[in-house]
Symmetry: C2
Subunit: 144 residues, 2 copies
C-alpha cells in the first residue's frame, strides 16, 4: 500500500514533535506545505522560549509567511494535535486552505471551534492519530 501525501507530511510533523520532546516540551509538531513542498517546520517551544503562545502552529505560520507571503491560502498545515482556539484564530488570519491534524484534543474549551475558522478552510483530523496521541501520552507518563 502506498503512503498517501497526508501521511507523508504528518510524519514530518511527528519528527518535529519528537524534537519538541527532546527539548522537554510537550511533543507537538507542525509543518506547512505549499505545492507539495514543506515551506515551514516548527515544534512547540513554550518552555524553550518562555512564551505561552509559542505553539508549533504559531511558529510555523510566522515562518511560512516569510516564504509564501502573509496569506497562506494555497497552503496546508499539518499538526500532530488538534489546534487550540489561538491557533485556529491565527489560521483564520492566514486564510490557510487546509488544516490536517493527528490526535484530537479533548480539552476543547469552546463549543464550536469551526466558528473561529475562515469559511474557506477545510479541516481534517485523525491522520496518524495513534502515533500522534501516543507521543503525548508517553511524554506525560514520563513526567509522573
Amino acid at each position: 500500500m502506498t503512503e498517501n501525501a497526508d501521511e507523508k507530511f504528518m510524519k514530518e510533523a511527528i519528527k518535529q514533535a519528537k524534537e519538541a520532546m527532546a527539548k522537554g516540551e510537550v511533543p507537538i509538531g507542525a509543518v506547512i506545505v505549499y505545492e507539495d513542498r514543506i515551506i515551514a517546520r516548527a515544534c512547540n517551544m513554550v518552555e524553550t522560549l518562555n512564551d505561552a503562545t509559542a505553539h508549533a502552529e504559531m511558529l510555523a505560520f510566522t515562518s511560512a509567511s516569510q516564504e509564501a507571503g502573509k496569506y497562506l491560502n494555497q497552503c496546508t498545515l499539518y499538526v500532530t494535535l488538534e489546534p487550540c482556539p489561538m491557533c485556529l484564530g491565527a489560521a483564520f488570519w492566514t486564510q490557510i486552505r487546509r488544516i490536517v491534524f493527528g490526535a484530537s484534543d479533548n480539552r476543547n474549551i469552546i463549543a464550536n471551534k469551526n466558528d473561529i475558522l475562515h469559511p474557506k478552510t477545510i479541516v481534517q483530523g485523525g491522520v496518524m492519530e495513534n502515533e500522534c496521541s501516543q507521543l503525548i501520552k508517553d511524554f506525560f507518563k514520563s513526567k509522573r
Copy 2:
C-alpha cells in the same frame, strides 16, 4: 478631574497605535502593565513583518513574557481595539489577569468570545473608546 490608571495606560496604547499608523499599519496598539509599570509595548506589525498573526497583542504577550515569565496572571493588557479570537486564545494561555480595551470590534466572528478566555481573566471595554475608534476610522478614510 484626575486621570485614572486605565486611561493613563490606554494613552500609552494609543501612542503605539499611532506608531502603527506611521508605518502604514491599521492603527492598533497595546501595552502590558505589571505592578503599575509598563513591561511591554507593541503595535500592529502585520504589514511590516508580512505576518498576518503579528497583532499588537501577540507581540506584547511575547515581549511581556521575557520580563514577567510565561504566565501573566499579575498583568493587565491595554489594547486600543477589542481582541480577536486569536488574541483571546493567546490571552488564555498567558492567564492574563485583566484585559482593558478601547474600541469595540463589530466584526465579531464568533458568538461568545468569553468562551475562549481563562475563567479568571476580567475584561473591560470602552476605555477611551472614541479616541481609539477614531484612529481606525481616520486610517481607513485615508485609504479610500
